[in-house]
């Protein structure tokens, strides 16, 4: 029955609109607006398209990124399909959906997880705990941890030499972090650092195609599915009172006096099961099941000895502290799950954690509570040659990170932060200075952001989805639904009065052959950024900011609010509400296209309803063309009141 339900859900998810559908559906309000404005400017919606061959195509480009570059308006439906793919308490369904979109452009078939043989499946373990529900959870975990994941990892990375594996542990990791001392380096040192990074990327490109990421990710998703099912069954039995944790833990089989406990299920090295009291865990674990209490986890992981990690905590106000990188729902050359079913928790990572997939699959699932997520780099839904997901289903949550976080992706990666309910705070930045552009601003690379290494490695897909609540988003340089180099960055916020604050390259923005989209369905929202934001595409890129409802306020300085730069496309679309648009430099904003390569870019500013206020180029009930190549705007009542005063 469960399998049938799951299958039907997956089928219904796969029937959701594909990434290209929005351009074929002029009936949506935003598409009608785009049609009206492009017609006014002697353009066509299909003009919003990029060629795949402006530069040589690398072999690591994701097919979904490629397709959306060909038809960027498809981002609108694609973002909605990701938002709608989530089924409560079943993160594995969303994970499967994302996995589908992690195929390379050149990939004709997808790899699968290792299928254990009948004898491997029937392998018997010595039972320590005799409760059947617990026994089932432990035996299934053992099959995944001891057989499926290690063999899937071998299928994924087995073609690599020892030296190449070391390269992934060390040099490749350097591409995803910044050192604070870099801001003090000399010009020659920075130049050689840049060249070294490019060299790492080129070295990687020589053997990267030998990596088959699919088996690890697929095995991780399978493990998540089974662990969530079995943990759910066990919790249900405890909640219904049919069993209680202390009883479960006290039911033990016969253990001879001189027996080696490590051969018993649940007592293997790296395995531990805790009761309902406040427990302390310290070290590099493979499996932890905790029945409750306010627990403290000090976790570590050694990438040179990769293995799966499963941590299941049934409740309590827990503190998870990273003692090394690659912990707390982190899949590093393997899969890592952290499933926490209740309590106000604190997740304090270093780097590469809190739902991070680094050549692997990482899932952090938190069902309830007001939680705090902290850490440095590559965390809170981050993926590189892997899938990293952080799902928080409810509560008033706080997310803080320095860099590469909160729905971040690098090459062949998908990073997703999915928050279902609650008034949440997102902050990323403040640590690593953007020495290239400023003396007083910091990189964020976060909140629905993806990046590739130009021009050698395409990026992936970074997404932040927040379904409801009054949320605050804050980044500095590069963040909030933006991307760099053959990637996709997106934010989809459903309901609530939200505040988006950034400085540059943000809020539906793309720089250098890439796409970014921010969709906010409802609520009175406030957007602030200095520039290259709020619907801005630079250098064959497309940035879209689509706000479907509410009385919103947009503030920017320049090259924003529907600005196309260097043959890019920028769109700002506001469907309903009494809005205010403020811009400091109207000469390159609110429907602006910048001339480059002897032709133009496209900037489309569209407001389809409400009584609006402008500092800039627009006015209520107005069509305009800016003195640019090529852009303009409309502010109209798409559905004007009829003679009775009613609107559609």
């Amino acid at each position: 029955m469960y399998k049938f339900l799951l299958l039907s859900l997956i089928i219904s998810v796969s029937l959701l609109p594909g990434p290209t559908d929005a351009q074929d559906k002029p009936e949506s309000r935003e598409m009608t607006g785009i049609g009206l404005l492009t017609d006014y400017l002697c353009l066509k919606p299909t003009d919003l398209s990029f060629r795949p061959d402006y530069t040589d195509q690398d072999s690591f480009r994701l097919a979904i990124v490629s397709r959306l570059m060909e038809r960027p308006l498809g981002m609108i439906d694609y973002s909605a399909s990701i938002k709608n793919a989530y089924v409560k308490r079943q993160p594995e369904i969303l994970a499967s959906f994302l996995f589908e979109d992690m195929a390379r452009t050149s990939q004709t078939a997808r790899g699968a997880a290792y299928h254990p043989s009948a004898s491997e499946m029937q392998r018997t373990y010595n039972l320590y705990y005799t409760d059947p529900s617990l026994g089932q959870l432990l035996s299934k975990a053992a099959v995944h941890i001891d057989i499926i994941l290690p063999k899937s990892t071998r299928a994924a990375l087995g073609a690599l030499s020892k030296k190449q594996q070391k390269f992934l542990q060390n040099q490749f990791k350097e591409l995803l972090i910044i050192h604070e001392e870099e801001e003090f380096l000399s010009i020659e040192a920075i130049d050689s650092l840049d060249k070294a990074e490019l060299e790492y990327a080129e070295q990687f490109a020589e053997f990267g195609l030998d990596i088959k990421k699919d088996p690890i990710i697929a095995a991780g998703i399978d493990m998540a599915r089974e662990m969530l099912l079995e943990a759910g069954n066990l919790r249900q039995m405890i909640q219904s009172g049919s069993i209680n944790p202390s009883e479960v833990l006290s039911k033990k089989g016969f253990v001879p006096d001189n027996a080696d406990l490590s051969s018993f299920l649940g007592k293997q090295p790296g395995w531990v099961i805790g009761g309902t009291s406040n427990d302390y865990y310290h070290g590099d674990y493979k499996f932890i099941l905790d029945f409750g209490g306010d627990d403290v986890y000090d976790l570590s992981y050694d990438p040179s000895n990769p293995h799966p990690v499963v941590i299941i905590d049934f409740g309590g106000n827990d503190v998870y502290r990273a003692q090394s990188d690659f912990t707390i729902g982190s899949g590093c050359f393997s899969a890592g799950l952290l499933l926490d079913f209740g309590g106000d928790d604190i997740y304090s990572g270093m780097s590469f954690g809190l739902g991070a997939g680094y050549f692997g699959f990482g899932l952090l699932y938190d069902a309830k509570g007001d939680d705090q997520y902290r850490g440095d780099s590559f965390l809170q839904g981050a993926g590189a040659f892997g899938l990293g997901i952080l799902i928080d289903e409810s509560g008033r949550d706080s997310y803080r990170a320095a860099l590469n976080a909160q729905g971040f992706a690098f090459t062949e990666g998908y990073g997703l932060l999915y928050d279902s309910e609650g008034n949440d705070d997102y902050y990323a930045g403040g640590k690593y200075k953007d020495i290239l552009r400023y003396t007083d601003h910091f990189y964020s690379f976060a909140q629905g952001f993806s990046i590739g290494l130009r021009p050698v490695l395409s990026g992936g897909v970074g997404a932040l989805i927040d379904r409801s609540g009054n949320d605050n988003y804050k980044t500095d340089i590069f963040g909030q639904a933006s991307s760099y180099w053959w990637s996709l960055g997106m934010i989809y916020d459903g309901e609530g009065n939200d505040s988006y604050h950034s400085f540059q390259y943000a809020q539906g923005s793309g720089a250098h052959m890439t796409n970014g989209i921010l969709i906010d369905d409802a609520g009175n929202d406030s957007y602030f950024s200095k520039g290259v934001s709020q619907g801005c595409g630079h250098d064959y890129s497309c940035g879209i900011l689509l706000d479907r409802g509410g009385d919103d306020t947009y503030t920017a300085y320049d090259l924003s609010q529907a600005a196309g730069s260097a043959n890019g496309f920028g769109l700002l679309i506001d469907n309903f509400g009494d809005d205010r648009y403020f811009i400091k430099n109207p000469k390159n904003s609110q429907g602006y296209g910048n001339p480059r390569r002897e032709y133009g870019s496209i900037g489309l500013f569209i407001d389809l309803g409400g009584s609006d206020q402008y500092a800039g180029n627009g006015r209520d009930n107005f069509y305009w063309r800016t003195k640019s190549k090529w852009g303009g705007g409309i502010d109209i009542e798409l559905d004007p009141p009829d003679s009775t005063g009613e609107t559609k």
């Binding site: 402006y54 010009i187 490019l198 390569r597 002897e598 190549k629």
Partner: protein, 315 residues
């Protein structure tokens, strides 16, 4: 230390290096790769703290003269956009003496280098490059074709007319765009009919560039051809023709537009009406209210009213 003093020492080093190199130049000495590289790193730096040193470094490299051009061409394989732009800037400053190396480099096997050499030749603006550029304008790489046609337009030499016209039908939109731009620069009146058909091009860059180039050509001939194009099956041709006529802004152009505001096509009426306002922003002919009164479509009326308001606010 104030920001001004921060640059004193590095610039002093740069100047010393440059002075040394000038001496070397006097002895017909070629520069070593490392000597050029050390200045080039500064010239192509994008960092805010080294910004004041970039232009002196570019000037220093340009002052080394054409001897360094072969090494600059080798650097065209760079994957850095900033480095690529820096090389173009230096070559532009060196000017015509760089052609002795740039023209032979058009036969290099790497399309990436060749397209960038074309770009440099366009920016150096020496017509000695016209025939070599024509010769590679049918290169297999569309990027090379685009940059070659683009450079020919910049050189403004009518020997390139035929190449520009034939490139209007290239299979790649970017090349057709380059051809449309080049025709405007070359002033190729023989291409008006071909250019008009590009108003309906699938690629917006070609379409819009054709519109802008038509305005630069012989207006009486353009009006004649555009008048015929109003009935084109491809509606975009007529719509953009209205824009061109609005910019030409003669009585003959307006007469054609006035006919268009009476058509059954809502879109065509909108384009024609807005073009009429653009052609006579001060409404000396008194058409503004006339076309507004005639129009019943709500959105077309808003477009006309917007055009009138814009014209008023620009006065």
């Amino acid at each position: 230390m104030t920001s001004r003093f921060k640059y004193v020492i590095p610039i002093w080093i740069l100047v010393s290096l440059f002075a040394g190199m000038t001496c070397l130049s006097a002895n017909a000495q070629t520069y070593t790769i490392s000597e050029i590289d050390s200045v080039f790193v500064i010239a192509s730096s994008g960092e805010v703290r080294y910004r004041d040193m970039v232009q002196p470094a570019i000037d220093s490299l340009a002052a080394m003269g054409s001897d360094i051009v072969p090494q600059l061409i080798d650097k065209f394989t760079t994957k850095s956009a900033r480095e690529r732009l820096t090389i173009i800037q230096i070559l532009k400053k060196i000017g015509s003496p760089s052609l002795q190396y740039l023209i032979p480099a058009l036969s290099r096997p790497e399309p990436l280098v060749v397209q960038r050499v074309c770009w440099a030749l366009g920016d150096v603006r020496d017509t000695a490059a016209v025939n070599p550029l024509i010769n590679i304008s049918s290169h297999a790489s569309w990027q090379v074709r685009e940059k070659a046609v683009d450079a020919l337009g910049k050189l403004k030499d009518n020997r390139a007319d035929g190449t520009a016209i034939s490139s209007l039908t290239d299979s790649v939109g970017q090349v057709r765009k380059a051809a449309a731009v080049a025709i405007g620069r070359l002033g190729t009146n023989d291409a008006i009919r071909e250019l008009t058909s590009v108003l309906g091009d699938e690629f917006y860059g070609a379409r819009m560039s054709a519109m802008e180039s038509l305005v630069k050509l012989d207006s009486s001939e353009v009006i004649w051809v555009l008048s015929d194009s109003m009935i084109s099956a491809n509606e975009l041709v007529g719509h953009l023709a209205c824009r061109v006529l609005g910019q030409i802004a003669t009585d003959e152009a307006r007469d054609i537009l006035l006919l268009q505001v009476e058509t059954g096509s809502v879109r065509r009426r909108a384009h024609a009406a807005v073009a009429i306002v653009a052609s006579d922003p001060e409404d000396q002919c008194g058409f503004h209210q006339q076309i507004l009164e005639y129009e019943r479509d709500r959105l077309v009326r808003i477009q006309i009213e917007s055009a009138i308001k814009s014209a008023d606010s620009e006065r």
